[in-house]
């Protein structure tokens, strides 16, 4: 992964961007307030496959975007301007 297609600025080198972490919600199957707190604060889904995450265009338009990426190959699948 060398480039990212910013929805506003176009194709830019990856070092212009800052990774903002995976976008996740605590699964409904997690029960109990303490377990849900632990999950929300600490756990990562860390999938070996398609993930949805946030990126910030630090050296460009300085706005957030949503990226769908395949972590198995570290390749971008889709870039969205707004939250999914």
């Amino acid at each position: 992964m060398l480039w990212l297609d910013c929805p506003r600025c176009g194709r830019r080198p990856l070092d212009e961007f800052t990774f903002g972490g995976e976008r996740r919600a605590v699964p409904a199957s997690i029960e109990g307030a303490d377990e849900r707190d632990f999950d929300e604060v600490w756990v990562f889904e860390n999938p070996d496959g398609i993930t949805t995450e946030r990126w910030f265009h630090t050296a460009g338009c300085r706005r957030w975007m949503t990226v769908r990426r395949d972590t198995a190959r570290d390749e971008v699948v889709e870039v969205l301007e707004a939250l999914p």
Partner: protein, 403 residues
């Protein structure tokens, strides 16, 4: 034959697989194999199988930059890694296997006053907890590393540095072979090319593992998986504060001079040492975005080379010979996760990020004691998974040598 191959330990591979073992260890990397070794040699527990999906040390054990050090920033980590460093110093005589261990010292350069304060604090904390780390002036550093450009290419001036005197390197795959051969000699079965595809559960308990050739029952299953631990733990319903990031490294062609210490820069996040073959070995920070890809990236190599040549300009005359990447399980607090998971019969040793190689002997010794006695030894008790639930995270990112 050469001295190099003559000193290779041979491994007794098992003829057949039992249907049940007291302990099944998933992952034949350093931590899995050392745990098996100490179970057999310290506790007499030999009905143990180690299941490796590929060949032993094919994961991060054979992909790291082989640095052994204890110059961490928090007492729990310094004590643990110092013990591991000392076990490494005696590993050759204990196992009879040549792991090419060399004490070289490791230097962490500081380029700003802020970094100088951090390194001074590190020296005090290390000394208080039993690791030998002293501050060095630029002139002293130049004496230790004549190749060093104290101006840092006019961009990163060297104001000083901490010198972790007992820092060392060892040949990584030989460490795995030393533990594998020692464990096998004591009766442990080590299986290569045996991926674990799932866990067998009975109620809330884990009672075995699934493989392509059928299940294996186990009194205890230890996940010593590197890289795909999130998926392995999910088989037991355990959720982990771990992200998996690639880390790249490369070696150059031979540098004809001896280059003894290991040199790292805390601010540039880059570390340089010489392999026993004379090549210069360079690693740096892991990729910011998680990935399971082991493809070397040009961007990473360019960035590492740029950093390293700032303060060691002789590297400009060398060429990159070989590149590779490993996938590192980075825990949320940059400390390892060892011990119980909340699920009976299922233990983990994970979150080894970029600091796993140096911990192989102490991690295995402690996990073996935990399995044998049912109680975590004091050295690793703080590193239990439930620390996150208890608000006792062990934040030590500044000592990871990476970010």
């Amino acid at each position: 034959m050469s001295d190099y191959t003559d000193t290779l330990p041979s491994i007794r591979w098992p003829d057949a697989r039992r249907s049940s073992y007291d302990v099944v260890i998933v992952g034949g990397g350093g931590h899995g194999l050392s745990t098996a070794y100490y179970l057999a040699t310290r506790h007499g527990i030999t009905n143990v199988a180690v299941l490796e999906a590929d060949y032993i040390a094919s994961g991060n054990t054979g992909r790291n930059t082989t640095i052994i050090r204890a110059n961490y920033g928090i007492p729990e980590a310094i004590r643990f890694y110092q013990h591991s460093l000392e076990l490494y110093q005696h590993l050759e005589e204990e196992t009879g296997a040549a792991i090419l261990h060399q004490t070289k010292g490791i230097i962490w350069l500081a380029h700003t006053e802020t970094a100088m304060r951090t390194e001074r604090a590190r020296c005090l904390m290390n000394t208080a907890c039993g690791a030998t780390t002293v501050m060095r002036s630029p002139a002293e550093l130049k004496e230790l590393v004549p190749e060093l450009d104290l101006t840092g290419g006019d961009r990163y001036p060297v104001l000083g540095g901490s010198h972790h005197v007992e820092g060392a390197t060892a040949r990584h795959d030989r460490v795995a072979w030393a533990f594998a051969s020692g464990a096998a000699r004591a009766g442990v079965d080590v299986f290569q090319h045996t991926p674990v595809t799932g866990l067998v559960r009975e109620g809330d308990r884990v009672v075995g593992v699934q493989t392509a050739d059928g299940p294996i029952s186990a009194g205890v299953v230890l996940s010593a998986v590197g890289g795909r631990v999130t998926a392995m733990a999910a088989h037991a319903g355990v959720r982990l504060p771990v992200r998996t990031h690639p880390l790249h490294a490369f070696v150059t062609n031979d540098y004809a001079q001896g280059f003894s210490p290991i040199v790292a820069s805390t601010e540039l996040m880059c570390y340089i040492s010489q392999t026993e073959r004379g090549q210069m070995l360079i690693g740096a920070e892991f990729d910011s975005q998680p990935s399971y890809s082991r493809q070397s990236s040009f961007a990473a190599l360019r960035s590492y080379a740029h950093k390293a040549t700032r303060f060691l300009p002789f590297l400009r005359d060398l060429r990159i010979l070989r590149t590779w990447a490993g996938i590192c399980d980075i825990s949320a607090d940059y400390s390892p996760i060892m011990g119980a998971t909340g699920v009976d019969g299922f233990l983990v040793t994970t979150g080894w990020g970029t600091w796993g190689f140096k911990a192989i002997p102490a991690g295995g010794e402690a996990m073996a004691e935990l399995i044998a006695t049912g109680r975590p030894p004091a050295l690793i008790a703080p590193f239990a998974l439930d620390r996150f639930r208890r608000d006792h995270a062990l934040a030590d990112q500044g000592s990871a040598g990476t970010r």
